[in-house]
Subunit: 237 residues, 2 copies
């Protein structure tokens, strides 16, 4: 199996690490194309178990040191999964929306937290980070395989399809404390870019909300603001 450095244009991506590759094989074996094992790897019970799962699903297992040189040059990874990327569509219900998110690690943390609080449908407005970036896949700790992520070129396109969703936009300019909001379902929680936040125009078609914090910091970081509000909204309905 030929491997190459990950690029957005590829039709496949990689799970770097044994635990993550296990998640792939447990959750989405239908997407798995191959599993690579480094020739240094000790044949532990869990490696044998992984190989067995691959056999069950007819996924080829290869000793392929070249793949490790290309995909994990730091050499702290002994198992890699290669999987097909899937074009997904989000379903009706409560959503999260991220507008122009730019950090791969942050997005992974967000997907993990979203999975923890039961949010399965995630809209992303482009330009944006690629959720199939192996850094995102890794930071999500496999949560990517639990959620549906759909990219939209414009927020209008999203609004047209989900016009019944109540939109709550997290903005530092808002004067509405998140605690005072009685959320109506289905709803969409909306977050801006790490550095620039949401464009002001979002205030014209969303209810704006804020998580109050001391003036000693400029803002909470994006995964934190998203995580705290996901917790709050998932618990108060």
């Amino acid at each position: 199996m030929k491997t190459e450095r990950y690029k957005r244009e590829l039709d496949h991506s990689y799970t770097l690490g044994a635990t993550l590759t296990f998640e792939l094989m447990k959750l989405r074996p239908d997407l798995a194309m191959a599993v690579f094992i480094c020739s240094d790897t000790q044949m532990t019970e869990s490696t044998k178990e992984l190989i067995n799962i691959c056999k069950t699903h007819d996924v080829p297992v290869e000793k392929n040191d070249k793949a490790f040189n290309i995909l994990s040059p730091k050499g702290n990874c002994y198992v890699i999964g290669m999987f097909r990327k899937e074009k997904q569509q989000i379903k009706d219900g409560n959503h999260l929306m991220f507008v122009n998110p730019s950090d791969a690690g942050n997005m992974g943390t967000i997907l993990r937290t979203a999975t923890g609080f039961g949010y399965k449908d995630i809209a992303i407005i482009t330009p944006a980070v690629d959720v199939y970036d192996p850094k995102t896949v890794r930071a999500s700790m496999g949560a990517l395989f639990h959620v549906r992520v759909e990219y939209f070129d414009t927020v209008e396109e999203y609004r047209k399809r989900f016009e019944n969703n109540h939109r709550y936009a997290f903005m530092l300019t808002s004067s509405r404390d998140m605690e005072e909001v009685k959320a109506l379902s289905p709803y969409t929680l909306i977050y801006g870019n790490e550095a620039t936040g949401l464009p002001e125009e979002y205030a014209s078609f969303c209810e704006t909300v804020i998580i109050p914090h001391s003036k000693e910091i400029d803002s909470l970081n994006l995964p934190m603001a998203a995580g705290i509000s996901m917790y709050k909204f998932s618990r108060s309905l």
Copy 2:
């Protein structure tokens, strides 16, 4: 001014970046030893302002490209502050406690969030990450200069000094939903290591609590669990 790669044993550390160095000069000019400016730097208004603040506080400003080669080999940083490390003592009141935290970036995110929710006193049980690691300083976005951090060799030492604090330990083995807790002040929120959590013995001298999440993830990540509970406890008293 001689600079060397950061090591825990040094009596000083560094703020890598202009914004962070501004925070140092605004919040703790008493700790600043020097500010280095890369010879590539354009003399913007904000650089001039920084130089003025340094003059006011008698902090030397140097063109020192060697410092950048040593401290920021990636070359994405044009201003560096050098500051004296301070041995701090936490004060009476509500505390956060981290037991054997190991990730420098996580700890920075935690300090930033703690500052946002008004937690100023942070106990760390060793062995643990060094909060003066430039990675932590950077991830904290200057919040390090707002908080007091004190290291303890054992949790017993901490308990002896703060015996009146009500202790709430976040443990995945707990059956007590955080939402049901009516926290008594002063209190201490206690979190374990990123990979291993808290030792079971903590259940014998703490009230254990959990942030419920779906079974699809193993746990929330440490900054997320800490941030969500800081938010919750700071809002419910």
